[in-house]
Amino acid sequence: MSDSTNKTPDGNWTPRIVAFFCNWCTYTAADLAGVSRMKYASNIRVIRLMCSGRVDPQFVVDAFAKGADGVLIGGCHPNDCHYVEGNYKCLRRYQMLKRMIADMGIEPDRLRLEWISAAEGEKVRRVVNEMVETVKQLGPLGIPAKFEQWDKEMNALAEHVAASQGAGAPGSSGQNKPQTAQTAHV
């Protein structure tokens, strides 16, 4: 289990943002930002995929579950997808995800989708900085710590139920665990 919040050596919290960038546009744009020596916040960890259409909603949920404070997805502009329409598929999943994470108690602003073409190094810089600023405002998400807390609560509840009912149905405490907790323990 990873630590619940990311701390710098001096003990201050600083957000961790996982980014899924498509190989053709946004990853290349981030390379361009590098070649152009643009400066931006170091909180971002880029994972390269061939297309934003490859972003499985599970990747996003998993990132949050493992301690990300924000998730950024970068794809080609509409009409410009290297794979014709992968970015549209991504957009639909993103809209669904936005609602889903809100239901899970995660602020929707922690997830962001941006179209960034290979020429837009400057946009990478801007979007990353904005995203870090937004997440800093929101504060640590700390899902892993919450899982631990919830597990403890559930176990306590289960023990309580077991104690009051005498011999309860075995395994009931496990079934009462929130669904997301199971995902997180994958």
Binding site: S2, D3, K7, T8, P9, T14, R16, V18, N23, W24, C25, Y27, T28, A30, D31, A33, G34, V35, R37, M38, K39, Y40, S42, R45, V46, I47, R48, L49, M50, C51, G53, R54, V55, D56, P57, Q58, F59, D62, A63, K66, G67, A68, N79, D80, H82, Y83, V84, E85, G86, K89, R93, S117, A118, A119, E120, E122, R125, V186
Partner: protein, 680 residues
């Protein structure tokens, strides 16, 4: 690879290498700390840092470790995988492993070059390295797919770059389709009078090359044509070219121009596009004397044989109002066909060279120079035509009022180096301005003023050219012209005042001149955006086509098999355009000569036993690579059609589709890796 087969049950043994890249990485990332940290991670057997991993010793180090330390996975933290992934896969393979047992970590472009806090950058490098260390054990041995290449080439644009690339490829025996939008090839160069720095006549050098294109057995020349559709990929592009009707049957026309001579319009009446409206032409005309193909064309907008105005479908209706004297003159050749329609041609090519050129800046966007308001304000390109012996004034330098100018101001940097218009330096304007100044002095005894911001004459023989022209006695004024207006004391003659600060004497100059020449900059063609979409290219923010790498892959694009030549990639002069065209041809040729392209094995496949047969994936695939086997009730992916986007993988509800190189488990490991706690 067989070696791997035998080691299948061996524990994972990873070698990790972090590159200093000189100081590029090491100045911002504590590479030793990264290597030390990675050494503590599970499965890591070797963890080293080295000055230049991409160098021969660096690569040899990997190979040696594979052999001596019995490594079976390799991770290199260095620059972008887009730059050197190939190199290190090669090293991995040379060490005796399957090349895909390699993973690259980008700590230069995505880290040391973009961050400012060394501690944070180092921690980020550790996180990214850890992600790769956790990912790489899941890697599978894969094989590169080889697809044969169609040896034919499409070249888009028939300016000097396209012409040179076409001839180069054709001479090498390749079949070339050269598609040009205008009725003749030649591009901007055909409009120039003389060229710097040699001052040789542009048409004298260009027309033999144009003629070669016209007659080369390996070149199919389609002028007055446009690419309307591009499908497929490197080695196998399917391209549709629309040939617009010129109302003259190309194969039958001999270029005799009898039709032009016999047109009912006795005198040319309509603005001549090639001469930028400074001259006149008839409804049937030859684009210019040396046009290739040497075939006439009819302008349906003004020809009496057509009813004015287009039909909704873009075609024209033939009228019977005219006596059709051109048809009579053409006689037995029967080359004139008023009913000609646009025709779409489908071709298959393996490589494409874009040479679509540039447009000149429209100086109406800098209204204070009076272009379009005062008749004696010209663009440099217009002056090229006026000064050209085959131009509208037959080479006599006279203004629209028929008079020879006594004083001429040449205004540099019009539209260039300006945040309000175009930010870039157009590179050729200083030199062509000097050339025009020389030509004006050659044609007249006028006084010439060059107003410049900085005199930029880099390149072979260019400074010498500048010196030579400067010695001819023109005025060189260092100051950008701020205002051009009619002389209030002489309103009748059309004389203009050119106002600028002479920044070297700190004085405001108000020079009365007869003629103002605007050295307009170069900018991307307005249709570049459409072409970019059509060919799936990238553009820089200015609108120039983006090369894959400004230094190391200057004529390649992000789309394999498509190359750039000439000014569509950025402003350049003729020698550079030609050089780049040659380079593009060489790149295309090297692909063709190899005979096949290697495809990244990132295709997807269905684990049949897991597939529930829900068919969710089938409509998602833009390449119709997924089919449904009615017998087994399982989905099946045709590997040859799959391009490896992974959209179906992300959508599969049962997790039964796997994408090579991007397997779910690989990505989850990466996510876990980047988020894992780091040592404080």
């Amino acid at each position: 690879m067989n070696i791997m087969e035998t080691r299948k049950n061996e524990p994972v043994r990873i070698g990790f290498y972090v590159c200093h890249c000189g100081v590029n990485i090491a100045h911002m990332v504590d590479v030793e700390a990264v290597a030390k940290y990675v050494a503590t991670l599970p499965n890591v057997v070797v963890s080293r840092n080295y000055k230049y991993m991409c160098s021969d010793p660096g690569q040899e180090m990997i190979q040696k470790d594979i052999r001596e330390q019995r490594l079976n996975r390799v991770v290199v933290a260095a620059c972008s995988p887009l730059l050197h992934e190939h190199t290190f896969r090669g090293a991995t393979e040379a060490g005796g492993l399957n090349p895909f047992y390699f993973q690259m970590v980008n700590i230069r472009e995505h880290n040391s070059w973009v961050h400012t806090d060394r501690l944070e950058a180092t921690r980020k490098a550790m996180a990214l390295a850890r992600a790769a260390i956790q990912r790489v054990p899941h890697h599978k041995p894969l094989e590169v797919k080889k697809v044969p290449i169609n040896p034919d080439v499409l070249i888009v644009g028939g300016g000097i770059a396209g012409i040179h690339a076409a001839i180069t490829m054709a001479n090498a025996g390749k079949k070339v389709y050269l598609v040009e939008k205008e009725p003749s090839i030649g591009g901007h160069m055909a409009m120039f009078d003389k060229t710097f720095p040699t001052l040789d006549c542009a048409m004298c050098v260009l027309s033999p090359k144009m003629a070669t294109v016209g007659s080369h057995p390996n070149i199919t020349l389609w002028t007055y044509s446009e690419v309307v559709k591009v499908d497929g990929y490197v080695g196998n592009f399917k391209v549709t070219v629309r040939r617009k009707p010129r109302y003259i049957i190309e194969d039958l026309c001999t270029g005799c121009q009898e039709c032009v001579a016999n047109c009912v319009y006795k005198e040319p009446k309509f603005p001549d596009a090639f001469n930028l409206g400074l001259g006149k032409r008839k409804p049937v005309y030859m684009p210019f004397a040396q046009a290739i193909p040497s075939i006439a064309i009819i302008d349906p907008e003004v020809c009496l044989n057509f009813k004015r105005g287009k039909n909704p479908d873009g075609s024209y209706t033939v009228s019977d109002k005219c006596k059709k004297l051109c048809v009579v003159a053409c006689g037995d050749r029967k080359a004139i066909d008023f009913s000609q329609k646009a025709e779409d041609k489908e071709i298959t090519v393996g490589t494409i060279i874009m040479a679509t050129g540039f447009k000149t800046f429209d100086p109406r966007r800098t209204p204070y120079y009076g272009y379009g308001v005062y008749p004696n304000v010209y663009t440099a390109l217009e002056l090229e035509r006026v000064i050209n012996a085959s131009g509208p004034t037959e080479g006599h330098l006279v203004m629209r009022n028929g008079k020879e100018p006594k004083r001429v101001a040449i205004v540099h940097c019009v539209g260039s180096r300006d945040e309000n218009t175009n930010r870039w330096c157009s590179r050729v304007c200083c030199l062509y301005s000097l050339k025009l100044a020389h030509l004006i002095l050659e044609h007249t005894d006028a006084e010439v003023y060059n107003f410049y911001i900085d005199m930029r004459t880099p390149g072979k023989s260019m400074e010498e050219f500048y010196n030579r022209v400067a010695e001819e006695g023109m005025h060189l004024v260092r100051g950008r012209v701020a205002d051009v207006y009619p002389d209030p004391n002489d309103t009748a003659s059309g004389r203009l005042i050119v106002q600028a600060e002479d920044t070297l004497t700190n004085r405001i100059l108000k020079i009365p001149v007869d003629m103002v020449v605007l050295s307009v900059g170069l900018e991307p063609r307005p249709e570049a955006e459409d072409l970019r979409r059509l060919f799936n290219l990238s553009c820089s923010s200015e609108g120039w086509f983006l090369e894959r790498h400004p230094k190391l892959a200057p004529v390649s694009t992000f789309t394999d098999g498509i190359f750039l030549a000439g000014c569509c990639q950025g402003p350049k002069d003729i020698p550079d355009s030609v050089a780049q065209a040659g380079a593009a041809a060489a790149e295309a040729f090297s692909l063709i000569d190899k005979g096949y392209v290697e495809q990244e094995p990132n295709t997807a496949f269905v684990l049949a036993e897991e597939c529930s047969g829900c068919k969710s994936c089938i409509p998602l695939c833009p390449y119709t690579a997924i089919s449904f086997n009615e017998e087994t009730k399982k989905a099946f992916i045709n590997e040859a059609l799959c391009k490896g986007c992974g959209t179906c993988v992300a959508a599969c509800p049962s997790g039964s589709i796997v994408q090579n190189l991007f397997e779910d488990q690989e990505i989850f490991s990466e996510i876990d890796g980047v988020l894992a706690p780091l040592p404080q």
